[in-house]
Every structure is written in structure tokens, then in C-alpha cells.
Symmetry: C2
DNA sequence: CTCATTTTACACTGAACAGTTTACTTTTCA
DNA sequence: TGAAAAGTAAACTGTTCAGTGTAAAATGAG
């Protein structure tokens, strides 16, 4: 009995999550009432509350879910025998692709909409995001150790690269000031960033 | 009669604007009820409504007010006989200082809080902000015409510089992830940006 | 068919809040 | 002093919304 009943329950749950994801993106968390949400999910309001006892719980579930799934590791290990150019380009391109993906943008919109007036909580969550950025960090330090890159503070270089990526592939899209980026644009932006960085820091 | 009466009225109005500015920053527009606002301004709710017939009107007034006052022109004209380094540093430093000033951050917080779920309207307003960035644009084109800078698209270079500035002096502060930047940091960041850019684009 | 679980419909509570109305007070200045 | 202008306090309307309670209906397993 519990077997297929579970399945029905799970389907409803899935519908709720699905509708919430869409609605929160479109109208914002505060702009989406639980009644509206239930209607969009084709589910009774009471069922929503049976699955998530508070709105807050639903929001947090969504954010962490997406956060987790977004943590597909960006990984390029430093190679002594390959040109810096190609390696860094691959790494930056991965980051660019991730940053401007609709999935990540949607997550970010929900997160920002939710945390905008709760900076302390945001701070905590952002700390986890930082871990994901350390692949670039590792690569830079390896290049420095190998004598092919010259800089004082790797943190600063990461910041610069990160700023260049987000400034062109994340913030404008987040606020829908710019449209989605084409593959060609991604490539072009990546190449410019790599050229800029290596021109300065390659020995 | 109308002379001093105006003064009293203006004082109340000022108190409302003052309280609204603070409250909107701290709790957000939606997080600030008109009752709360009236209390904070030490003014009756009715007085608020005598000055601003709708909440929306108050919000728009605030944003445009601050927008206008923020439009202190950043201007450095290109000089043929001065080193690029010093000129660009001055220009970038001005932008950095503006970007991370509390005044600008507060404006941006209110604006983003208000426009986050109205991207179309945001787009319009942002267009006006772009005009202010053209001083850098002009400087770069002058440098190129003078043969001391080499690049294809000035727009792209502006984007890169802008990304570098905002990524380090605006976004982290906007979300209160990083504290206010010290004068030394501003100088250091400026110098790094200038070095990065000139290393690549100076002939 | 029957029993257990889950979903549904819907009415309800209680709070928050935008905006209004009214009756009253204070300030200013002529 | 007295009339005009501005402000105040507090109750009120109407709406939206989070969250609850409950009885009936749907679903599926044995």
C-alpha cells in the first residue's frame, strides 16, 4: 500500500516543487502566495502544507536543492606540458558557461530575492559557494609554482577573473538587462578574459 | 502666512524623505509599512499621504532624487602629453570612489529592491545611467586616436574595466558580503585594474 | 469490498497593510 | 484675536495572505 501511495505523494510533491521553482522566478517569493502556488501546481493548498509546513521551508528546500545540483564541479587540473592559454581558456569557459546558464541564473534570482534583506544569512550561504571557485585558485597556484605565472596574491587574480566573468555573463543577465549569451559570445568573452589575464601574469 | 508655513511643511516632508530613505534601505520597500514609516518620521500617517499620495510615488521620488544627486560627473579629459598610467588611474579611481560610496550603494539597494521583479522598468532607468559611463569611453577613444592605445571595440574595454570595478567595489558591498573599502584598498584595486588594462591595450 | 492513506474543497482565523475619514489641535500671520 | 493652513490621532474599510481545521472524496492494497 505504501509503495504506490508514496508514488502518488511524490508526484504531488514534485508538482509543488516544479511550480514553486517557476513561480518564484517569475513573481518572486513574496509575489507568490501559497494559494496561487497551489493552483499553479494543480494541487490543493492543504497538500502544499502537508509537504512543506511553512513557506520558508519550501524556499529553503528549493534553494539548497538547486545549489547542490549546481555543484557540478568545474575542474581543470594544471598541466605542465600544455600551453597556459588553452588550459585557462577551458577553465574560464567552463565558469562562463556555468554562470550564464539559465539554471544558475534562476537559482541566483530566487536566492537574491529571498536574501536581499537578510544579508547575514546570505553571507553564510555564499561561503559555501566560494568552495566551488577554488579550482581556478588551485590552477593559478600550480602555474605560479611551475614558474609560468607571476603574481603576488592568487586571491586577487581570482577576484579579477571572477569580476570579468560575472560582469559580462552574470549580472546583466540576472537583472534581465541583457539577453542570453550565444555560444560565440561566450567564446569571445572567454578569449578576451584569458588574453587580458595572461598578458599581465604570464612570465 | 505661506512663507513660514511652507517651512514647517518642508521640514515634515524632509523628515518623511529622510525616514523613508533609511527605512527602505534597512527593511526594503515592501518591508516598510506606511504606518511604520510615519512613526519613524515622527509624523502622522496622514501627513505622509498629504505629501505623497501613494507609496509608489514616494518610492519613485526617492529613487529619482538620489539618481540625480548621484550624477556628479566623473570627468577626465584625455591629455596627449601626460602618461596614460596617471590619467587612467585618476579616471578609474573616480569611478571606484563613486561606486563604493555609501550614497551610491544605498541608491542601488533601493532601486534593486524595487525593480527586481520589474525588469522592463529597470531597463529604462539603467539606460540613463549608461550616459554617465561615457567619460571613460571618450578617454579610450581619444587614446586610440592618438595611437597610444590599441583595441578593436572600445565598448568591450569599457565593459571589462567596469566589470573589474564593480566586481570588487560594488557587488560585494551591495549585498553586504564585504565591508566598506578603505582608501588604501581603493588605491590598490585601482592600480591593479590600470596595470591589467594598460598591459594589454597600451601600444 | 474494505481499510488506510492521501488529497481535496472550503471555510475560517488572525495579522498586516494601503489608503480614507473624521473630529480635534497646533502653528502662523494678518 | 481669529481665520487659514497644516498636522495629529485613532478608528475604519477592504484586501491580501499565511496557516489551520475538518469533513468528504479519491486512491490503491489486500
Amino acid at each position: 500500500m505504501t509503495e504506490t501511495t508514496r508514488k502518488r505523494s511524490d508526484k504531488k510533491r514534485e508538482a509543488i516543487i516544479q511550480a514553486a521553482t517557476q513561480a518564484f522566478q517569475e513573481f518572486g517569493v513574496n509575489g507568490t502566495s501559497m494559494d496561487k502556488l497551489a493552483e499553479l501546481a494543480q494541487v490543493s493548498k492543504r497538500t502544499v502544507y502537508n509537504h512543506f509546513s511553512k513557506k520558508e521551508e519550501l524556499v529553503m528546500h528549493l534553494i539548497k536543492e538547486q545549489w547542490k545540483s549546481a555543484l557540478v564541479n568545474i575542474g581543470v587540473e594544471y598541466q605542465h606540458d600544455l600551453p597556459l592559454n588553452a588550459q585557462l581558456e577551458e577553465l574560464v569557459f567552463q565558469e562562463v558557461t556555468f554562470m550564464c546558464s539559465e539554471g544558475h541564473l534562476e537559482l541566483a534570482r530566487v536566492a537574491i530575492g529571498h536574501f536581499f534583506y537578510e544579508p547575514e544569512k546570505l553571507k553564510d550561504e555564499v561561503a559555501q559557494l566560494k568552495a566551488q571557485e577554488s579550482s581556478l585558485h588551485r590552477w593559478l597556484k600550480a602555474g605560479k609554482a611551475d614558474g609560468r605565472l607571476v603574481f603576488d596574491d592568487p586571491e586577487q587574480v581570482v577576484n579579477e577573473i571572477d569580476s570579468l566573468i560575472k560582469g559580462q555573463c552574470f549580472w546583466p543577465q540576472l537583472f534581465k538587462i541583457e539577453d542570453t549569451i550565444s555560444e560565440d559570445d561566450k567564446r569571445r568573452i572567454t578569449q578576451n578574459i584569458v588574453a587580458l589575464v595572461l598578458c599581465r601574469y604570464a612570465s
